[in-house]
Symmetry: D2
């Protein structure tokens, strides 16, 4: 359960870290959208492991295969698009030790209680590799939204205590940490490497931004844009807080400070993060995702084994010391998938609805 | 759209601030659950307006009527439970002025663009009164979960810059602000009244806690417990950030600090907030909701009128100066509804599934 | 469970035969549709009991109240429309006897086993009165589709062994049996009254027709138009077979007889009943619903009591001797609801999708 | 759209007749169910083409690959099960001619209007090969239900005008037509071969039966067991009528004939087809599916070409002369999928619900 998302742009993902492969089926795409393997590969390559000293050394080519849903001209045919990425390097040996004990901060204990499963090689469905299907679906959503002039991007806002001073989107594309500020980058980079060298890991913050949204996407009540994105972002493992606009700061302000004044084109300021009354306001959509540190660390940790007896664990497999650089593309994907779903809900006024009268 | 929530404990809410009434239909309830009008009224009374100087002076008796779903013995019969609360004091005059301009920080502008509706009396579906249906459904969920020993509570964690120093659940029930700490209560209370006296409002933070959860509720991937609660909490108007456990602080920590060690009964500490791998861990579920200040303030604000021309607005209707005390019960309701939905998903292991073999 | 239908035009119905009332909440309506109490009452009056010798003598005014979802101008506001019909004549005494035994052909036995409920007064949720919410929702769908030039009608095709010889839609509106043929009407009428006089009941067949559908409504695979309508029609109690076009006859034909030839405007014949490849073909949509006789009869029947011991039952309450005249409007409603859902799915080609590029 | 089915046993199918492959992802399976490639292959082999003179000569090995969802012990792990069958013999040339004209009785015309697609090689998503994903999912459902003692079977009830005289399940497994009666088999077989020899095709009727169902599966109102099965069966291409029990005959009877008397163990007769009040009654579930003849025939047919001009078509590809033998396994699959969904809805009485109190 739980691998289905979206009412209009509906996706069902599948796959485990060390099984045959991972992927997604997307139902609800209109016919006539050009989708190429290259379009999808671009996004998949951005979340691929083994790309820098900041990420796990596991190597996966993550080549995506389009199994269905396209015409011979490479256009969607209105039928489900099925995408498959096969696993290559499934180094089960690394995980042999962890299989006897529950890793703190992981899904091992709760999955054991819920499913009766012993800790699985690489985390099974709870592994970060599960996000491959999401990124593939997000790449399709990106194509759908591109023609509307909507773009979604992400970057690292903080690693541990080191925060970006001034957001520089261009810079984030030049460093493997995806850090959004050149000034504080050296400290950020050093903080991550220090943690890594000490067998430890570091928390982080990712910013997601969407530009070009029309006014009025999202729905009232339970499907507010924050609510749909809230589910989408919190569905990413390691995300423990989500904030829209100046959300945290707003809770400390007065209304006279917090309300963004309105001008003829819409809000004149963006403390609200691009969502008003649960609907997009036409300004930049801004969200921050607060990530806990990678729970897999080499330092000794107190835990229990399968028999329930106290045990010490040190996790020596290949792991990202800091999750922000790899989860940024996943956060973008979840934003894209959510926006695609909002788009396909269609207009809300009778006179705008197809067929024209 | 957007008024439907839950796959197993499915609710559809309805109603506007100044229409005939508000309510909810709940489908998915098992037969045999005792539900009385009093059970529901208790929770509705907790969110009722007009109860103190901290809340709007609007007076509504908010009496709930059970339209269907019960046997003559007052037990659920397995059919939908329909609940109706009629509006009484619909003082449209207060809203006459605002109907010509878009209130900053409100849904007026986005609803106008999406639905073609002029700003509605009292906010229409975007009003806080919309939450009546949620609280009624939450009260039903509370009855369902009570027999399992699960309790959900909420309190005010902060108003503006004044934070609770030490959480005291008993104290929160003694003050109209639902503030969770007696020591800092005087400052908190003063801060709200000052803002109110100056025609302004104040941001705030609500804490929600659930006790007694078994291990393993929630589902992997998109239906992680944080994800379901994330949608539920962000669907409450004014919520602009949500945090589970020590979410914000975790993003600044190292893994060795953040991971909660495991003992034979489960996690020995609760920085994770009761959810591991997206599933309940058996420890206290803890979430914080960061609320923006009430956008309706008496101070002058820059905005535009229906013709798109610059205008100044001062909102003099009846409004809560601080949303935490009234949204606490709503946050509880959304938590209860989500947990009821998780409960009714049933077990995940073949051998635990009905019918027994 | 089971009281929710539709993905885009989503309805949740509620209510029992002898509770406070029945109704429906509709989510997904676009803003700007004119809906009046009169529009809804017209359809509700058509299914109302107590209108002729062919239907139960129970009298209900079935006045519908619109609880939410309209602007002060009587246009939908994009929020859920909640509709309520209160029960008036709940004559529990008639049902006292049946409460101790399971009525053959009724839901009594299966509801008892599933819900642990003793046979309920008037059938509870399994009563024909449950259809009030459907008809109310159908009336709303009718308004939505009217502007597109789509009309839906129904009539009685057969009662017992008496079949219509030639369909005459105008005639069906002139007789309480809604019989579609003047020639065979006397026999039909007599057959029903004979059965009634003998304390018995009669099976029947209802035809539903939709005119004005564009080409391409419905979706491939599981949401074929026949599949959506199949669920909708079979969800009406007493429907035991459903046929589209010349469905039964087609199974006896050869392909060369069954295939309808194509002309420049579409199919030149309509053996297929207006659906090809699961999508509307632009020709008249034609379905037949085969209804079992009313299971409540005055004649002695063999059954068991609540203790499981053999018993004889004779049911003397107020019951329709033949279900077709009252279920016709319900069948129309289910057709309208399904078509509204198809309409709101929107276009399937990228270039037709909102917003225009 | 439309490739998603089931709320608890949720499946999303994908694939076209001449693309890379076909398959299904199943979400909602409990952990601990043994699933082997052989279990699935057995059912897939039963629907495989090229097995007799009664079916198309197209040859496909239809080997299924399990991409995800199993532990190393071959048990479900609670995550989605993804199944893939690659296409092998995609003989596009056969279809070259038909691509310029709309085949009568096919989805060509409606798909062209809806999706803007020219008639696709082999029918694309509208091809009978689309059912591969269904049969794979049905095989999984069969494993789930087997442990409960539930079995589902199907057979050919009629071909053209030749009906079974007496149902003989054992005999149907011995002939390629899956005909259910040895006496009338020679005529049935001859009728199909005659039609085939003349370049024509023949309509047919399939019976589906489920044994071992407990009382109370299905839900009231819109999710009646007939309604869920109605959608499932009508979603199979070529099905133009569906009947439960003696559905057609019941519409001609009186109540005193139609009602099945009740005994201490439940209904003493089965005219109702195993469903009462929308719930399973514990007796044999019996449904009949009425299939139109294969629309692809070699005889000349009147149609139009892509430019809308009158044209004559003769379809000479490989096609089944009669659909019953190949759609029987598909009908079983749809029944199994629906029953699995009902099973996973769980109990409806509070005291039976997990966790036990």
């Amino acid at each position: 359960m739980g691998s289905l998302l979206g009412r209009y742009f509906s996706i069902m993902t599948f796959g485990e870290s060390h099984g045959a492969g991972l992927g997604v089926v997307i139902d609800g795409l209109p016919a006539g959208l050009a989708i190429s393997q290259e379009d999808l590969q671009r996004d998949l390559d951005r979340r691929k492991p083994g790309q820098s000293e900041f990420t796990t050394a596991r190597r996966e080519s993550d080549q995506v295969e389009i199994l269905s849903g396209l015409t011979s001209q490479g256009l969607t045919n209105g039928a489900p698009l099925a995408l498959l990425v096969r696993n290559q390097e499934a180094r089960g040996a690394d995980y042999a030790k962890t299989a006897q004990v529950f890793r703190p901060g992981h899904a091992d204990w709760t999955y054991f209680k819920k499913y009766g499963l012993k800790p699985q090689a690489g985390g099974g469905r709870a592994s970060g590799r599960e996000t491959v299907g999401r990124v593939a679906a997000g790449a399709v959503a990106r194509q759908l939204l591109k023609a509307l002039g909507i773009t979604v991007r992400s970057g690292t806002m903080a690693v541990g205590p080191i925060w970006v001073e001034k957001i520089d989107w261009a810079f984030s594309e030049t460093n493997a940490l995806k850090f959004l500020d050149q000034n504080s980058y050296p400290q950020a980079s050093q903080a991550v490497l220090e943690a890594k060298d000490q067998g430890d890991s570091l928390g982080s913050v990712v910013t997601v931004s969407a530009l070009g949204l029309p006014v009025g996407w999202g729905d009232p009540v339970f499907d507010k844009l924050e609510a749909l994105l809230g589910q989408a972002f919190f569905s990413i493992g390691a995300v423990k807080a989500v904030e829209f606009g100046d959300g945290l700061a707003l809770s400390r302000m007065r209304g006279s400070q917090a309300n963004d004044p309105m001008g003829p084109q819409g809000p004149l300021r963006n403390r609200h993060g691009g969502i008003l009354g649960g609907l997009s306001s036409g300004t930049e959509l801004l969200a921050r995702l607060y990530l806990k540190p990678t729970p897999s660390i080499a330092l000794d940790q107190e835990t229990i084994n399968l028999e329930g007896q106290p045990s010490i664990i040190s996790i020596t497999g290949r792991h990202d010391p800091c999750l922000a650089p790899r989860l940024g593309p996943v956060a973008e994907a979840m934003c894209l998938i959510t926006l695609a779903d909002c788009y396909l809900r269609g207009p809300a006024q009778l006179e705008q609805i197809w067929p024209p009268k």
